[in-house]
Amino acid sequence: MLHYPEQFIFEISGIIDRFVDWILDTFGGLFDVITTVVLALFNGFDFVLSAIPWWIYIIAVAYLGFKLYSYLGGLILATMLFLIAMFGLWDPMIYTLVIIFISVFVSLIIGIPSGIIMAKSKPIESIFKPILDGMQTMPSFVYLIPAIMLFGIGRVPAVVATTIYAVPPLIRLTYLGITNVNKEVVEAGKSFGSTPAQMLFKIEIPQSISTIMTGINQTTMMAMAMVVIASMIGAEGIGDEVLISIRRLEVGRGFQAGLAIVFLAIILDRILQGFASKFNRTEGLDV
């Protein structure tokens, strides 16, 4: 009685495999479309980001840092970016940025409308909430599995996995922003005869813009975290550097790539937060 009786073992892996096969057979066309779109986006973003000379990035970051913070802020951010270039990680960084930008771009298209619908409809709210909770507690590796199953190995599943992982905070914060608009402001809008669309575009979205900006920031950071992990399923970029270093036990190379990831994360975070706080200045609850 020491071991679990073998006759009671019932593996569901076979069923899942068959289910995935069925999905691929039935919705294959859809996945082909997604693949085509993602690749087109990839090529587009890659073309643009690669066409800009490295020093323009550094000047731009320095300028934004100065505008949003101070001389010192600009100097620090620009130095970080320069260090990434100095480590010889410029091209992997651009590759990583491309994936992040596509994920954020797609997240904006999916996330903001979803958040708005969730705020407007009770039934959808009650469906979305547990799903979002589940998505945010799920370990990030888990997202790699369905991505590989449906899209194989390469940059397409990397983009898909990154996007799915990154979108929940934007949905949640858009929802939060819209539902938290001051009750009297909403009443005022209604009492002057606004249509639902006018309520949304002239009152609710402008009033929650800083919360939505925070959501965009968080989504970007989530994408940043995921894109490193997604290197395991074939995304190149800085994450790949880390992965290679782990496999070959090259401590120095791994540390250097890790540092570059931290720098990139800080630069993105500071710039986005700077924009968010600009919006914040025109917003306040007690008005």
Binding site: N182, E184, S191, F192, G193, I203, P206, G284, V287
Partner: protein, 391 residues
């Protein structure tokens, strides 16, 4: 134009539909609202409310927090739906308005001012005031013009390009008021507009509101929890408690015939002469004449009514003066116009009783009460005041 509002047996209940149905059947019993709420789990905000608000009236609803007054004012523009009963505005039942009609109604005919201002913090003063016109697609030039005019009306000119966060509470509420006036509504709803302001500013704002009320034909429904404010502003007042109306009447009615001990307590510490305005103590003139009236027929009328004199107004009710019965007897004039004597002891209807002793002591007869546009609104005499104070 201004609105006439009739509230018939209005009840507003918040809760789950099944509970609301259950609570509805209890409304007409003797059960206290707290009992109904406990039994069914709903919130009864208004229970069998009945009253009328007349055109051009400044009607105040007063009550402690939770008495249902804010819920009530929100049913007047459809922000809350009646659970039962009707609100009839100029003959139109608000329950029968579809979405389109309700939107037009809100855009053109009714405006609201909020306790915490409800300003759009992402827009400057001008853009806030323009908002009601903007959503009606009024063109940019016209709406800016109208908004500037409204801003001027509330005394905020020069502040158009400031953000709401840069303004003091009183100024924010002026923006709220300008925004509510910009579409020139026939009905103005004010939900505790001055409760968040400090006392000095509150008094200024109250006076400005009274002046504003004088210069336009507009029905105003004003909510407050402050009895002093209610008496200072209201032509008629409804006192609410536990979702029901306890008493409706002029300030004078409240002092003369408080409906019960609750009302008596509510008004106990009020200095009547500081609170009561001429407008709430004045009577309707027994008879007014037009300049076109024939002196002879007028004389007959006055004598049959045993009157010593009467006031004369033009077709727009604008005050011209008075004629005495003596004058009419002596004169042989064919037209009344020449006989009218100018009267300099007139009183503004918004004056407090404490400020009119001198006018009354100088007057021979009762004194004419006028509004800001010099229209005759009523008459007042020493006896009227003594009667009020005697209670």
């Amino acid at each position: 134009m201004s609105k006439h509002i009739k509230v018939e047996n209005l009840s507003v209940i918040f809760g789950k539909p099944s509970q609301v149905e259950q609570a509805k059947s209890m409304l007409d019993t003797d059960m206290h609202v707290s009992e109904i709420m406990e039994k069914t789990g709903v919130t009864v905000a208004n229970r069998n409310v009945n009253f009328e608000i007349y055109p051009d009236e400044l009607f105040v609803i007063v009550g402690l927090s939770g008495s249902g007054k804010s819920t009530f004012i929100r049913t007047l523009n459809g922000l809350n739906k009646p659970t039962r009963g009707d609100i009839i505005i100029d003959g139109e039942n608000i329950n029968d308005m579809d979405n389109m009609r309700l939107r037009t109604f809100r855009r053109k005919e009714v405006s609201m001012v909020f306790q915490h201002f409800g300003l759009l913090s992402h827009r400057n003063v001008l853009e806030n005031v323009e908002y009601p016109l903007e959503i009606q697609h009024v063109d940019k030039k016209e709406r800016t013009e109208k908004a500037l005019e409204a801003i001027k009306q509330v005394g905020l000119d020069g502040w158009e390009h400031h953000m709401p966060s840069q303004l003091s509470g009183g100024m924010k509420q002026r923006v709220g008021l300008a925004r509510a006036l910009v579409n020139n509504p026939e009905l103005l709803l004010m939900d505790e507009p001055y409760s968040a302001l400090d006392p000095l500013i509150r008094r200024d704002m109250q006076n400005e509101l009274l002046n504003l009320d004088d210069s336009f034909d507009r029905t105003i429904v004003f909510i407050t929890h402050d009895m002093n404010e209610a008496f200072r502003l209201g032509e008629r007042i409804a006192l609410m408690r536990d979702a029901e109306v306890v008493q409706i009447g002029t300030p004078k009615d409240f002092f003369e015939n408080p409906a019960n001990d609750y009302v008596r307590d509510f008004i106990a510490d009020v200095d009547k002469t500081r609170i009561l305005k001429v407008r709430s103590v004045m009577r309707k003139p027994s008879y007014t004449a037009l300049p076109s009236d024939h002196p002879k027929t007028l004389l007959e009328k006055l004598e049959s009514g045993n009157l010593e004199f009467c006031y004369v107004t033009d077709d727009d009710n604008k005050f011209l003066g008075y004629v005495t019965t003596e004058q009419l007897k002596r004169s042989k004039a064919k037209s009344l116009e020449r006989l009218v004597t100018e009267d300099n002891t007139v009183i503004n209807r918004n004056a407090y009783l404490k400020d009119i002793w001198k006018n009354l002591s100088d007057a021979t007869f009762e004194v004419a009460v006028l509004d800001g546009k010099k229209r005759l609104r009523g008459v007042i005499s020493n006896d009227d005041i003594i009667n009020v104070l005697a209670d």
